[in-house]
């Protein structure tokens, strides 16, 4: 088997105030996979995400990205390899123009001039926002801002895209447009979400995190139809949605 893009082993973490959020998490994600990370509020999903690019340092256990351990010495390369898109695009987009924002990551990696421009335009093209390149982010609609937020990370040409609640606060059309974009990308995706139909639509595989450990890891369809597991971990399908009758594309 090839080296996994994401290799998390026995990861445990307690916050400085003593609250322990993770109790030995094991997770492997391989190249080209799209994986949903499911779990109730307070399960430790965000804490796990912050370990993937070294914002938080593992209390115990280890995280490696394509074989490179997440350590202080490697942080720059780790943050190139792992692109995290945070939930609120107003947190992600902090520069005055879309161009400056998308360029921020690659410029930190040392790119400049024509190569930087190429990266910026390529990333914006991938999310269909190229024509907004010189607009200030706070003048875009919420759905557009979410797409630019994805572009800011794509411009770093990451090996894995980590999305925190990508469908939250989007209207159904924006939600579908984002799904189309994510499906069109040739990149490994780990998607934290409460939107179970979205997980079924986009991610063949799901991992359930609950109480700081991985309690299930399998085909999304199997996870969502396992009623005992679902109920035990406060996962609920929206009213009227049945995975057995919803046929995701490509199945």
């Amino acid at each position: 088997m090839s080296v996994p893009v994401l290799d998390v082993r026995g990861l445990a973490y307690a916050y400085p105030d003593g609250h322990q959020a993770l109790f030995g998490v094991d997770l492997h994600v391989h190249r080209g996979e799209r994986v949903a990370l499911l779990g109730p509020n307070g399960a430790g999903k965000t804490t796990l995400v912050l370990h993937l690019n070294g914002i938080l340092q593992a209390g115990a256990g280890s995280v490696a990205v394509s074989g490179l351990p997440v350590e202080k010495a490697n942080l720059r390369e780790i943050r190139r390899r792992v692109g995290v898109v945070f939930q609120d695009p107003d947190d992600q987009l902090f520069m005055g123009t879309v161009r400056a924002d998308v360029a921020f990551g690659p410029a930190n990696l040392g790119l400049a001039g024509a190569e930087l421009d190429r990266r910026v335009m390529a990333a914006l093209d991938q999310v269909g926002m190229a024509e907004y390149v010189d607009r200030p982010p706070h003048h875009l609609s919420y759905g557009q801002r979410r797409r630019v937020a994805v572009a800011t990370v794509l411009a770093m040409e990451p090996e894995i895209l980590v999305l925190d609640e990508p469908s939250s606060n989007l209207d159904p059309a924006s939600r579908r447009e984002l799904a189309d974009i994510l499906r069109s990308l040739d990149v490994t995706v780990l998607m934290v979400t409460h939107d179970l139909p979205y997980a079924l639509e986009l991610c063949p595989r799901s991992v359930v995190l609950s109480g700081g450990t991985v309690v299930a890891d399998g085909a999304t369809y199997d996870v969502l139809t396992d009623e005992v597991l679902m109920e035990e971990h406060r996962l609920e399908l929206p009213f009227g949605f049945d995975p057995r009758t919803a046929l995701p594309p490509g199945r």
Partner: protein, 222 residues
């Protein structure tokens, strides 16, 4: 949030004033202000000349004068102070419309009013003809310390976000029966201000996380 252009103070246009390099406009404003402030306060002809120059610039910029006048209400506190001066200052008295006022205070009040109005109009003209982004780039070209420019850039970026948050909190207060005229409700305002501060602080932390996640190491890329 709408998808409109520019900032509230900005008036979209393509005049020569709009197109002039931002750092030149900043220098021009600064020079103008120094000259205005340094002019002895009894040289009324000079002030008339300054006003004329300013009106010519505004005319070239094609920003409607009413647009600028409406926004010059920020000057009101100074106007109030200027009107107060003749009555509180001491020294030889003089008669204006049958009221005895201080000669010294009257002159000081008029000077404050004239200089203040010229300053406010000139600054508003700069703001109306320059996009915030260009202004920041201009300040950077003038070698203003990068940190200061960055702080201003973040302020411009998050002004709308924070005022939006403030607006939503106000609606939420009023939806639950808050009445700003009732003094017994005033402590709520203080607590709201505190909550807004904490929310903004926490947003700052999240923005910092997002910056770190994209390889930020303490220096903004050039």
């Amino acid at each position: 949030m709408g998808a409109g252009h520019g900032h509230k103070l900005h008036f979209h246009g393509h005049s020569a004033i709009h197109r002039a390099p931002a750092h030149l406009k900043v220098l021009a404003l600064l020079g103008f202000m120094i000259v205005v402030v340094a002019t002895p306060r009894t040289w009324y002809a000079a002030f008339a000349l300054y006003l004329l120059a300013l009106v010519v610039v505004i005319a070239i910029s094609r920003v409607p004068l009413t647009y600028l006048l409406k926004r010059s209400v920020v000057e009101l506190p100074f106007v109030f102070f200027a009107l107060l001066l003749p009555f509180v200052a001491t020294g030889p008295q003089t008669e204006v419309l049958g009221v005895s006022v201080s000669q010294h205070g009257l002159e000081a009040g008029i000077a404050l009013l004239v200089k203040g109005t010229l300053g406010v109009l000139a600054s508003l003209t700069l703001a109306a003809t320059t996009e915030p982004q260009d202004l920041l780039a201009g300040l950077e070209r003038l070698r203003l310390p990068v940190q200061l420019v960055q702080i201003m850039a973040f302020m411009v970026r998050y002004l709308d976000v924070v005022t939006g948050e403030m607006h939503r909190m106000r609606i939420a207060r009023e939806a639950r029966g808050f009445d700003a005229r009732n003094p017994r409700h005033w402590p709520v305002l203080a607590r709201s201000a505190g909550a807004l501060f904490i929310r903004s602080y926490e947003r700052g932390e999240r923005v910092h996380l997002a910056m770190l996640s994209r390889g930020y190491t303490g220096r903004m890329p050039r």
